[in-house]
Subunit: 394 residues, 2 copies
């Protein structure tokens, strides 16, 4: 334990942060349990806990009477003190997700949009999705401490959309500025494939993986790269954008599926791509040829990633991940021919909400860094921070 | 300043490390200058400095009489206390480089070898290069605290060569084990392109760059990747190995140069590749076509790196770097067509010694981590550490 003659306040803060971290990790704990975990005397912990309850960082969990005696007080992090908002703004869909400070999702709203929608209309759709999401969770704008939006294309560090292949009237929109004005809180914008990768790392099939790449595969393609557990965005913020690389972009390969005239045994569903994938899984020879051709193109990109980054895991995300049972063995065989080591291939478990969830995760990461930083004296009341790091850059 | 009731020893160590870091950064300093830099009282610094001199960490610089008065004592890190050995073992060359604990190169030895040399003969060539290098620097085996060898191909974490395309009888050699037995000190083996990249970052044109990729271009090709200033090796230790990726490996493209029958104005030199590059720079039309074809292939790999990693800088290394004036503008134009952002292109400044120098840098990095770690009480005498981190893995 570090003691500090000149600045006992700093020591106090370190102990407070240790208590908060222990409680958050376990969900809820008694004072004796906290003391044991962080190696501090029980009386000191009791004092720190009382202070943190007074400042709204911890709250007492309603005790459950269990057998004899008075139940011991249990404490948990007051995650309801603030909220973060995660958005996913694509060509066809707008999603809004509200979560508390522990990332527990309180409400999710989905609205349909259109690639050709004018930007003003899209921004209004976003605004309505946000207010519907807040209403659903009975929350107010003031309770949102930070927002992050996932969107398609090339986004700069300031949250401006520089280029978007799939949303027509979108380049040049200051989306972060729009969200800051809407919510009066810091806002960030990030590429949706990157945020889907972050979500897999924090909440999905990539937990505990150091280097992970998510291949977004569907009508659109994209890459999200985590190195050492952190999003890798690159010097020009374009890391993972294969759109200009003739040999590596595999988005056009979807045409093998679109122009294959195969249907599942139960008949066509109207989703041409899904129909071919299901038919191939059922053994339809023509469908299988089309799928193999598609996978061969995807493998050229995946093998480039495997050869350059050598990640532990590649996660298949996007709408194709529903067909991972068919696709991953084919992809794995192709990769064996194209790289020294084929990474472990996994299928996304988070579905269509993954980018919005990744947005929530990024917001919490920034928020935690702002409210739980190690500088300064004892913690004050838990409240919306004034301004902070990445969000205050903008 | 942190004080510590229970463990004043730890505080002493922290202060000692701060003094050593300040002195190493500046070359040499007076006590008052050290005190100013690290924010400690002059008397405390004086006491710490005396202790460090006693334990051989610092030495007094011979004072230079300058004008009136008694010259103040100046202290510097005793870098001569130990040595590190860097090796570069290629198909055609063996290089050995001895440096002190600050990385000052004391001796370099170069021996010619042969791709077809049997492994025993190659190991003997290495042993002779090492002993010649030690003799040249008037150093003994016992003074070598760690060695790192750069070599071609795929090396595992334990320093075994798993695969080598250019040295015939090399796969399966336990090179790290051989060096440990030879020198009685920890040894590591690493891919030569990676170590060339590290050298550029620490001593060459990549200083201060966070994300850097070195393209090794010559008869052999290779990649070295630094992310966040650290070597990126990957989960399976194959990061940067493009040898199996049909679309990205550009090693065969050298044939465009080998089969082009162009010579410089001054006549052929016997080095067919260099002759074509010089002729192209002189304006020879056929040579220029061959060089453009070569660069186009290299650009496909470089653009994959730019698109996936988006490094700040790509460094051209290997023998082609001598022709960077011709090659880099051509490469830059190709990259503009294949990636969203063309990284800044630079030419290696370290020449043929770069991988050996990178080996020295990696050895120093491991050694510093071992002798300057923050754990424990006051520093003991500066001496060869018993066993440490990466090197003790093996």
């Amino acid at each position: 334990m570090v003691t500090n003659g000149a600045d006992l306040g700093r020591l106090r803060r370190i102990n407070e942060l240790a208590v908060i971290a222990a409680v958050r990790e376990s969900g809820d704990l008694r004072v004796a349990q906290i003391a044991e975990r962080i190696g501090l005397a029980r009386t000191s912990v009791g004092e720190v806990v009382r202070g943190l309850v007074g400042h709204g960082w911890l709250e007492e969990k309603v005790p459950v009477a269990a057998g004899r005696g008075r139940p011991a007080h249990r404490y948990r992090f007051r995650a309801s003190a603030g909220h973060v908002l995660g958005l996913d703004i694509g060509a066809h869909n707008v999603r809004a997700m509200l979560a508390d400070l522990d990332g527990t999702v309180l409400a999710t709203v989905h609205r349909v949009s259109d690639p050709a929608m004018p930007r003003q209309e899209r921004l209004q759709t976003i605004d309505r999705a946000v207010s519907d999401c807040l209403r659903q969770a009975k929350a107010t704008t003031e309770q949102v401490w930070m927002s992050v939006a996932a969107t398609t294309g090339w986004v700069d560090r300031e949250g401006q959309i520089l280029m978007s292949g799939s949303i027509l009237d979108w380049a040049g929109v200051d989306l972060a500025g729009h969200l800051r004005a809407l919510l009066g809180a810091p806002a960030l914008v990030e590429n949706d494939s990157r945020l889907a990768a972050l979500a897999e790392h924090r909440r999905g099939v990539g937990q505990g993986v150091r280097d992970l790449v998510l291949l977004q595969a569907g009508r659109r393609t994209g890459l999200g790269i985590l190195i050492d557990g952190r999003l890798h965005c690159g010097f020009g913020y374009v890391a993972g954008d294969l759109s200009m690389h003739r040999a590596l972009k595999w988005e056009p390969a979807i045409e093998y599926l679109l122009f294959c005239d195969a249907s599942p045994a139960t008949g066509p569903t109207g989703d041409a791509v899904a129909d071919v994938l299901v038919a191939a899984a059922e053994g339809h020879a023509g469908a299988l040829v089309a799928v193999r051709r598609y996978v061969r193109e995807m493998a050229i990109a995946a093998a480039a990633i495997a050869s350059i980054i050598d990640p532990e895991v590649i996660v298949l995300g996007g709408s194709m991940s529903k067909h991972a049972g068919l696709l991953l063995p084919l992809l794995s065989s192709e990769l064996d021919l194209l790289c020294l080591r084929t990474p472990e291939l996994r299928s996304s478990s988070l579905g269509a909400d993954s980018a919005a969830l990744g947005a929530v995760c990024l917001a919490l990461q920034h928020l935690d860094a702002a409210i739980l930083n190690e500088h300064g004296g004892p913690l004050g009341p838990l409240r919306r921070p004034e301004a902070f790091s990445a969000a205050s850059d903008a």
